[in-house]
Amino acid sequence: MKVSYFPGCTLKNKAKDLDTYARRCAEVLGITMEEIENWQCCGGVFSTAKDEIASKLSSVRALAYAAEKEQILVSVCSACHNVLKQTNHAMQNDADFALRVNNYCAPDMAYHGETQVMHYLELLRDVVGFDKIREKVVNPLTGKKIGAYYGCLLLRPGKTMQMDDVENPRIMEDFIRAIGAEPVVYAMRNECCGGYVTLEDKNLAAKTSAAVLDNAAAGGAELLVTACPLCRYNLVKNGGRDLPVVYFTELLAEALGVLDATQGVKEENNG
């Protein structure tokens, strides 16, 4: 199966791991991720303003590209997924917005939200299936107590994102179980890390990140996983606690045994 893939700015730079492991693991699981040609940055945040059009056009282009290829549009970064999904939702449900967007775009392009937008985790759950992942695991992470950190972007707004129960999600926990580890459920896993406000107010980000880490640690987590480079940055940089935070794709790669093959890449990235 082939899917369209929107990597996003950070996955090409500071979070190359997130990208590389995602692709390698997908291959192992029988999915080819075809990177969208000439994709442009999603902008990182979705503006809720109804009159904000231009900043959403790059997402629409990616969505239209996937529509043309009749492929699911997959992203790994929470922020990209959030922006793409919300933009798609607006294209489906806000006729005025869709009209104005289409007026901006190339004359031969008409897009009204046909593309299915999926996060990589949803791909694992709904297309591959966690059971199949369990079968493919060669290196189960048995005994590891892992806390899933969703943050806000993956789940909210719930009516639009439709990924999971907003207040009691389980997709990452199921993922953690599938790779043989033990999930630690803690209440702060769907609270914000501080996001972009870290640039404006470090103290606020420190407070929010610490609240997440403290709660996770109290629940017994030895390690947190996330899908969002910004979450990881905030938790590690501002969380004030020495609790490792890794991308979920890293663990998937380790469990599927593709880590070694990519070791070189990893070093290259981090070096």
Partner: protein, 663 residues
């Protein structure tokens, strides 16, 4: 051709002041069919009525037009007059020349002209009137109450005390309902069991009451006075006639791990069980989902220990059909699921509980024998936070309910007060949006919780509950102080919204009773007929009609009972003769009428007809049940072939009125 008499009333000067009554009488005398016309000062007086009776005899009148006040005033009077004169009462039409003519117009010529036209319309209608006889149907003198909570019990007791037999159908093995699970009741704090269980015993022992416990209604046919109801008595694998309720089996059963629904799953029971000590009827039942014998055929302990020989593993569901004159829905409520409100961490922590669970935790017969202990570790909680309006007053159907659940403010005040009374070392916080306490002694009760018991009421909502170690961090707004606060709580109690029991909707379908979008039963009139369903013979008791507390439930139960008694006291039901009826030769059985009928009065029958070519043909035709039809006439307009018409307001009659008015 009718022989019509026209009687024009002066009503003193009320009519005669602006209407030339003599001219009206004279003009109408020339209308087709009119053979007699007269005017008189007060038509409704004895002398006026005698004058009508005499004229009927003398002029052999077949129809009457009374030009007088509104039919809402004296139509019944003149119908009686007609009957006394030997006429069919439905051969009378009223021309309203007072409220709708003399009282609204000032000038004599204008009033007179209009009165004449109104009179002509009435004459035109009477010309097409036909005698109508109200249908009669016998009344089965037995009532059915569906649901055995306090609403159903009270309704049944009141009906039975009036001398009519009543059956209660309860889906659980015992009656008692939610009230049996409560600890104390507001605002007087008497213990629920102390006031409920005597009523349960009364109901169980009343010679006029039969209780079908562990039973469900599966089919309802018939109509007011004549319902045929099928009741499924679920197999309880214990013979009701033999079980003595000794309870030995429930102690010896080896399957101990069954969640105890009476304690909301906070402890366990056996696979054979009696829900609680005061159950009525006190008969055990086997839970087939957990019984090893029923599942694998290996065990049989209960049968061995039962000295009465009451255990019967081969028992089957039994269906019985009973006839009733009236049916009362009393299906009650449940707290909504907390699945969609996990910001309060209900699924994440055992120490986040609903208010009903709190009732069980404080109840002497509950899982902790009445000691307030945390479900997680059995420790005494020192800080308790109550959250109001969880799932109530929500907009949008995806989450919660739009309505106020009405009882939460009061039971939370009760919980807070009782906690502070029993455990003065606890800190109790109540987060509220509004405190709603309309009711006798209700606000005083709430104020007592604050002023005498020192409960902290904080205006604001809780945003997030975070289990952290053995604490629950409650993050909330204090709107009056303008701050966000965090409380380290030991126990969080959620005032979950209440919703109608899931069984209500299928029951409404069986009853053809209407429901609102929240699945509460709709009343026939929201103010004036609050305990009747729009479907004749179906009555409403308790929370199946809307959220209400125990005093309200009991009063409504009594009101529903009195309506039932009023119905059952009649030997025959006289219908409204102005009902729909279908011309079978014109009907093509399309079902249009059936779909718009709010009462389910229209059914279809396959009937044999002789056709003009002497063959017989079976045709599907609409049949109106005259006892159920209320005569709105909606079906007559829906009927595409014009087969459906309304007696007393026939299309031809209304068109005749239209023609008369339009000259």
């Amino acid at each position: 051709m009718q022989r019509i008499g026209v009687f024009v009333c002066w009503c003193g000067t009320n009519i005669a002041g602006t209407v030339d009554v003599v001219k009206v009488a004279q003009t109408l005398a020339n209308e087709p069919g009119v053979v007699f016309s007269a005017d008189y000062q007060y038509m409704c007086s004895q002398a006026g009525q005698d004058m009508i009776k005499e004229a009927v005899k003398k002029h052999k009148l077949t129809g009457l037009v009374i030009c007088s006040c509104s039919p809402r005033m004296h139509e019944a009077t003149f119908r009686k007059t007609a009957a006394a004169a030997g006429l069919n009462p439905y051969m009378v039409e009223i021309a309203n020349i007072r409220e709708q003519c003399s009282w609204v117009h000032k000038e004599m010529p204008i009033g007179t002209e209009k009165a004449i036209i109104l009179g002509k319309a009435a004459v035109a209608k009477v010309n097409l009137n036909a005698p109508l006889t109200p249908g009669e149907s016998p009344v089965t003198k037995r009532a059915l109450v569906i649901g055995g909570g306090i609403a159903g019990i009270q309704t049944a007791l009141d009906i039975a005390d009036a001398g009519f037999p009543v059956d209660i159908v309860e889906k659980l093995p015992t009656i008692g309902g939610k009230m049996a699970q409560l600890d104390k009741t507001f605002p007087t704090l008497d213990c629920a069991a102390c006031i409920l269980t005597p009523k349960m015993v009364d109901a169980g022992q009343h010679e006029k009451i039969r209780i079908f416990s562990y039973s469900e209604v599966t089919d309802i046919g018939g109509f007011v006075g004549n319902f045929h109801v099928t009741i499924k008595k679920k197999a309880r694998y214990v013979r009701e006639d033999l079980c003595t309720g000794c309870g030995l089996c429930t102690e010896k059963c080896p399957q101990k791990k069954v969640p105890n629904e009476f304690n909301l799953g906070m402890d366990t029971r056996r696979a054979i069980y009696i829900p609680f000590a005061q159950a009525v009827p006190k008969i055990a039942a086997i839970d087939e989902d957990y019984c090893t014998m029923l599942k694998t055929g290996k065990c049989g302990v209960c049968a061995k220990v039962c000295t009465a020989g009451a255990i019967d593993y081969k028992q089957q569901d039994e269906y019985i059909t009973v006839d009733y004159g009236a049916i009362v829905a009393a299906t009650g409520y449940n707290p909504i699921s907390m699945d969609k409100f996990d910001e309060f961490a209900y699924s994440q922590s055992k120490d986040v509980i609903t208010s009903l669970e709190f009732e069980r935790l404080t109840n002497a017969a509950g899982p902790t024998a009445g000691k307030l202990l945390r479900p997680s570790d059995g420790k005494h909680p020192h800080t308790i936070v109550f959250v109001q309006c969880v799932g109530s007053r929500c907009s949008g159907a995806d989450k919660g309910k739009e309505y106020c659940s009405k009882i939460c403010c009061m039971y939370t005040a009760k919980h807070a007060m009782l906690t502070r009374d029993k455990y003065p070392d606890t800190d109790v916080y109540v987060f509220y949006i509004d405190v709603r306490t309309p009711g006798k002694n209700f606000d005083e009760f709430y104020r007592r919780a604050v002023e005498e018991y020192g409960v902290h009421y904080i205006k604001g909502m809780v945003g997030k509950v975070t289990p952290d170690g053995d604490k629950l961090v409650v993050q909330a707004s204090d709107l009056l102080a303008g701050k966000q606060m965090k409380i380290d709580a030991d126990l969080v109690v959620l005032a979950a919204a209440i919703e109608p029991d899931k069984s209500a909707r299928p029951l409404a379908t069986l009853l053809t009773a209407s429901m609102d979008t929240n699945d509460f039963f709709t009343e026939a009139h929201p103010k004036l007929r609050p305990v009747e369903s729009p479907t004749a013979g179906v009555f409403l008791s308790g929370t199946c009609q809307g959220p209400k507390d125990i005093p309200e439930t009991v009063s409504q139960a009594g009101a529903a009972a009195s309506k039932v008694i009023g119905l059952l006291a009649k030997d025959k039901l006289m219908g409204n003769p102005c009902v729909a009826h279908s011309d079978e030769m014109m009907c093509n059985g399309c079902s249009s009428c059936e779909k718009v009928c709010p009462y389910g009065a229209i059914t279809y029958a396959d009937k044999e007809y002789r056709m003009p070519d002497r063959t017989t043909k079976v045709r599907r035709v609409a049949v109106v049940n005259e006892a159920v039809c209320q005569g709105c006439g909606c079906c007559t307009v829906a009927c595409p072939s014009g087969a459906m018409d309304l007696k007393g307001f026939a299309s031809a009659q209304i068109m005749a009125e239209v023609d008369a008015i339009c000259k």
